[in-house]
């Protein structure tokens, strides 16, 4: 079989996979071993996931992979009341800052009221299965909850 091609006969034998929902999440044997990772340019800029070139210093790096810990804090948040159809609303969406020096989008698992969330609030990351596609593959997403 040529690379990239799929024969109908092969499709029947495919075993559904467990996949990360985002390219900067790496899955372990259990959800406790999942972790986020980034790539740091020689200039110091840190990016979530793989990176070819640096948007800050315009170089090709080199980049060093950084394993990101589970700690973060709230930069800003919003409470989404009108969500896309497959998502239960209201929920808290946020930009969270990681101590390693990168900011990422996330949901925060907390009762969605403005008074419950503070700027700078400490968070811990966890992962869980969030969806399944038509072929039966499952997807794992990360989220944060108050530390």
């Amino acid at each position: 079989m040529e690379e990239g091609g799929t024969r109908l006969a092969d499709q029947a034998e495919v075993t559904p996979e467990l996949r990360p929902l985002v390219p900067y999440l790496r899955l372990g044997a259990t959800r406790d071993e999942d972790y986020l990772f980034g790539n740091r340019c020689v200039c110091g800029a840190l990016y979530a996931g793989p990176r070819m070139y640096c948007g800050k210093c315009s170089s090709a790096g080199p980049f060093t992979e950084v394993k990101l810990g589970r700690d973060a804090e709230v930069h800003v948040f919003t409470i989404i009341h009108q969500a896309t159809p497959y998502v239960k609303a209201p929920y808290v969406a946020a930009i969270v800052d990681l101590p390693e020096g990168v900011s990422i989008n996330s949901n925060i698992e907390i009762e969605p009221k403005p008074e419950n969330i503070k700027f700078g609030m400490k968070l811990k990351m966890y992962t869980e299965k969030c969806s399944e596609d038509r072929e039966g593959n499952s997807y794992v997403a990360y989220r944060y909850r108050p530390a």
Partner: protein
């Protein structure tokens, strides 16, 4: 580069046109701008068509409606700055000397789809699973950055809706022309905190057009040529969180600085600004980005009355706004902001918006804006921002 004038503009009433296709909306705007300039399509040497959802061929379809003269057509897409980018390309076409007369048309037909429809396989979509990437979330969080830095309250943002909805009652071209007092804005259902439904612009259909001409030939067509004193486009430069939360501030500040230099004016000289109030939160951020007030002063600025038509809070809203007035704050600019009603009332058919803003300030500079006229408007700014991320600023003068 030579001086360029606007000699014709038009904007069709924004709303919903389920019985017409987008090329017909665009053609109507084009035809009306030609009439305004006393021209026919045969005067137009190049056409720049801004349309986001049906970009390819959008300009050619305008000519199939208006007259197929065989002129060069460029179709432009640049997020919410699509129409203003088309205008800027038409400006350069004339400023460079390549053409004497060019037309920019912006159009969009969004229907009722809104921006919430999921694209692609829902199983692999990040939306709502690892944060939210939709515009209501982005502009909600952009407002929260201001709240975090300066203690801005939801009411401060809500005042932009009170003001713009009040302005819209005198704009027959606006999609909505309905006032909303502060408590009504605050009590509307939340879309993405802190923005309620009345703090979000509606989606809809619309079109607008502008005809640009070399200044030396402009008086053949009009007694009131409007000068394009600055035409600026920026993209988002590197900033720390831009890749997770689009930074709508830095590129606007950069564009404003260049625009003021090009035009040789400052914020104090502006009679009025049409700025990109896609959400009420955005309006306040742009007061600071455009230099209408100092950093952190946007809440005080709107409560001072300065950006309201007449430069004061209407008597009927004084009591509602009184608790937010800082008597120690003295505004240093008097630019009326979004006299049209802004995107919040006028609507935001994406590709049409940038050209419509320009048409609006041209109406004022000519003294043709009716009951919403900014008295004695001489120097006007039209600002648009699209994610991720393009910012245009045009400064127009009499």
């Amino acid at each position: 580069m030579r001086e360029v004038a606007i000699v014709g503009v038009s904007m069709i009433k924004f709303g919903r046109y389920p019985d017409r296709d987008v090329s017909q909306l665009a053609a109507q705007a084009g035809f009306e701008a030609l009439s305004d300039a006393g021209m026919t399509i045969k005067n137009i040497e190049a056409l720049y068509s801004g349309n986001l959802y049906q970009t390819s061929g959008s300009g050619q379809r305008i000519l199939q409606n208006l007259g197929q003269t065989g002129i060069p057509v460029v179709n432009v897409a640049n997020a919410c700055a699509t129409g203003s980018t088309a205008f800027r390309e038409a400006y350069f076409a004339v400023a460079s000397g390549a053409y004497d007369v060019a037309m920019a048309v912006g159009s969009e037909q969004m229907g009722k789809q809104g921006l919430l429809g999921s694209r692609g396989d829902p199983a692999t979509s990040l939306e709502g699973r690892v944060g939210s990437y939709m515009m209501p979330a982005v502009f909600g969080m952009a407002g929260m950055e201001h709240a975090r830095a300066y203690g801005t309250q939801q009411e401060h943002f809500a005042m932009a809706s009170v003001k713009n909805h009040w302005h819209s009652t005198n704009n027959p071209l606006a999609q909505y022309q309905k006032e909303s007092p502060l408590d009504e804005v605050m009590n509307a259902r939340v879309i993405a905190y802190p923005n309620t439904l009345l703090m979000c612009c509606p989606t809809g259909d619309g079109a607008a057009a502008a005809i640009l001409c070399s200044m030396e030939k402009a008086r053949q067509f009009t007694t009131q040529p409007i000068k394009v004193a600055a035409s600026v486009l920026t993209s988002d430069p590197w900033s720390d969180r831009d890749l997770s939360l689009p930074d709508i501030n830095t590129l606007t500040k950069n564009a404003a600085k260049i625009a003021y230099e090009q035009a040789g004016v400052g914020p104090k000289d502006l009679s009025q600004v049409e700025l990109h109030d896609c959400f009420a939160t955005a309006e306040l951020l742009h007061y600071e980005n455009l230099g209408l007030c100092g950093e952190g002063e946007a809440g005080k600025h709107i409560a001072s009355g300065a950006p309201w038509l007449g430069n004061k809070i209407p008597t009927k809203y004084e009591e509602d706004i009184a608790p937010f007035v800082d008597k120690t704050y003295a505004p240093t600019t008097t630019a009326v902001v979004n006299a049209s009603g802004g995107l919040l009332s006028k609507g935001h058919p994406l590709g049409a918006t940038g050209v419509a803003n320009i048409a609006e300030v041209v109406f004022h500079l000519r003294g043709q804006a009716g009951a919403r006229q900014v008295e004695g408007s001489k120097v006007a700014m039209a600002h648009v921002i699209g994610l991720c991320s393009a910012c245009t600023i045009h400064i127009l003068t009499k």
